[in-house]
Amino acid sequence: MLSRAADNLYWMMRYTERAENMARILDVAHRMALQGNVGQERGGPWGPALIIAGCEQAFALHGGPSSPRNVIDFLAFNPDNPSSILACLKAARENARAMRAQITSEAWQSINAAWLEMRGLSHTSVESDGYSIFFDWVRERSHLFRGVAEGTMPRGDAYNFMRLGTLLERADSTARILDVKYHILLPSVAEVGGAVDYYQWAALLRSVSSFRIYRQIYRDVIKPTRVAELLVLRADMPRSLHACFAEIVEIMQELREGYRRNYLSVRMAESMLMKLRYGNIDDIFARGLHEYLTEMVDANIELGAQLARDFMQVA
């Protein structure tokens, strides 16, 4: 398949996933803000939301007071913020439009309908209906589009690059959420175990659909090391780094088999998977979780760039 086609399909899914993750981040911030005193600790949840989204600087430059409504507006509805839900859905749909011949009509109709509906929404109407309904809608639309694609697209290069887009974006998002929250949630060991702490860790887990999974797996109170272990090292947790990279490597090895070349990107992904497969959470904490996650985020960015050089920007 054409490099451009692979690139379009990859970004179509990255943007869809990005929109979904933004909705997750905002949903959690919104819930925390509703919890009165609990949520208002350390400047409230909106600063961290901006940091996780990587939009802290852009928001500062954009100006205006950092009121909750302004942050939501910037992260959800601002057409000039390339990371906003609106911009992500638009970009996903534009990539899909360019690939109408390569994707199934069901997949096209799904993402097109999502965009048309999004375009018809205003912040004011969303606000009066309640934000949660909107955040749920974004998440559902993303699930739906991914599901339609999975249920209708033939397995092959097109599907593989779509999956890679989803997985790289998801791994990036999980690492960022964990890193920022950990940073903010754990300034001193003394506060561990308090009520504030409980609600915040629970919110973190909810933002990655893992609250109940945590309960099922650990049958224990929420402990930072276990949360980190769940989101980084557990292979059975679908949004964990380990699960994402297991599938990334599987797909990339298939590409290597198919094209019979010794791609640097495949080796990079394999070495990341090794770290995750054989990592130990206590070692990671001993070295520093923040350092570890920063490394993972950087390596993920490097991998994306090399993936593009190897397959999507063939010169």
Partner: protein, 484 residues
Amino acid sequence: MTAFDEMDAGTAGNGQSVRLPYQAYKRWLDTVPAEVLSRRRAEADLLFRRLGITFAVYGEGGDTERLIPFDLVPRIIAAKEWRRLRRGLKQRVRALNAFLNDIYHGQEILRAGKIPAELVTRNEAYLPAMHNVAIARQTYTHIAGIDIVRTGENDFYVLEDNARTPSGVSYMLENREAMMRLFPDVFAAVRVAPVGHYPDSLLQTLRESAPPNCDEEPTVALLTPGVFNSAYFEHVFLAEQMGIELVEGNDLVVKDDKVYMRMVGGLKRVDVIYRRLDDAFLDPKAFRKDSMIGVPGLFQAYKAGNVTLANAVGTGVADDKSVYPYVPDMVRFYLGEEPLLQNVPTHILRRPDDLKYTLEHLPELVVKEVHGSGGYGMLVGPRASKAEIEAFRAKIIAKPEAYIAQPTLALSTCPTFVESGIAPRHVDLRPFVLTGEVMRVVPGGLTRVALREGSLVVNSSQGGGTKDTWVLEDETPDIHTGED
């Protein structure tokens, strides 16, 4: 002015009220209740919308994607009529190719004085850069669309040649597909020659046109200007049907005068490019420097004989309206034959006598801009107001060489399903002629119909629709391949 009707035999029918090619169809049609036709029309609309067969309309605000109206009543051509047309079409396209080869090499036709030299050499579509460029098989227009009108039982005229990047063939294929879905039983009652193998014929033609130095199975790609082009749907459709890559300029790269596609697995050599991009935009290094949709270095690779472009560069000079009046002379000059298909008698307004006549007879004539297309910038005298005629007169006087004039032809009519029921509407026909190692004409084409009562303008941008075109089968198999 009574027009020849494709179905109604009128007084010429020798007691038959329906012309022979329509008899089986008419018998079937008489059994179909009106409400069934209405229902099928609604289904057809849905079908085309779902398939996304749209075209872009210029000069209108808002949503520019529209459906071309599809008419349920087919246009039917007898096998005998078709063979006659086909011979004429092939002859004409052979002459056009010989002409293009000549004017980009020895220019014998100009030296023989058959065509005024400045009409060719000063033509905007004439590209001096093509002079003495050797191209595979000396074929310039691999895919030609020849617009034909009919005025009587035996009177077919060529209205226009399309030798650059003719479009519309996807309608020929999709209209048939729609007819077969909507009315499967009629195909049991009437033996219609299939058209579905057009993509195969096209691919074969393109492969046969590969450069002589290509010694493997040639790789063919379709080059599109992109998603904003009015015919993008057709590009997607044809690439898909042929199983070839649909590429944009950025997908191609030229290295050492060879053309490659950027593929996931690396660069892949391309031998033949079916390009649906105008000459001017092909290569910013050779033509328009501001082209963002072209391929830098493509023309150099082409001149080096490492890639075939179909159609060739510079074919526009053969289908220019100012050159059109001379096509019958080309047939005589290059082939030593009398033309089988006639031109519409044409007044060339750069000639003082023709200009004088035209200005005196504007209300009867059709005046066309020499470089116009798509039914824009033309005057249909009998349908124009006094003011419109006077406005056009001023334009003609200001620049006579920019216009040609033709008598208003009584284009044949074909029964068409309109609001008031089935009524005659004017039609034309665009068959597609392929030239590779052999010439191929798939039995069918694009029939365009002027849906407004009395209108003679069939262009989709001006309220025209399309019909399925049926060529009837007979006992001889050549009807299918069009190779003879």
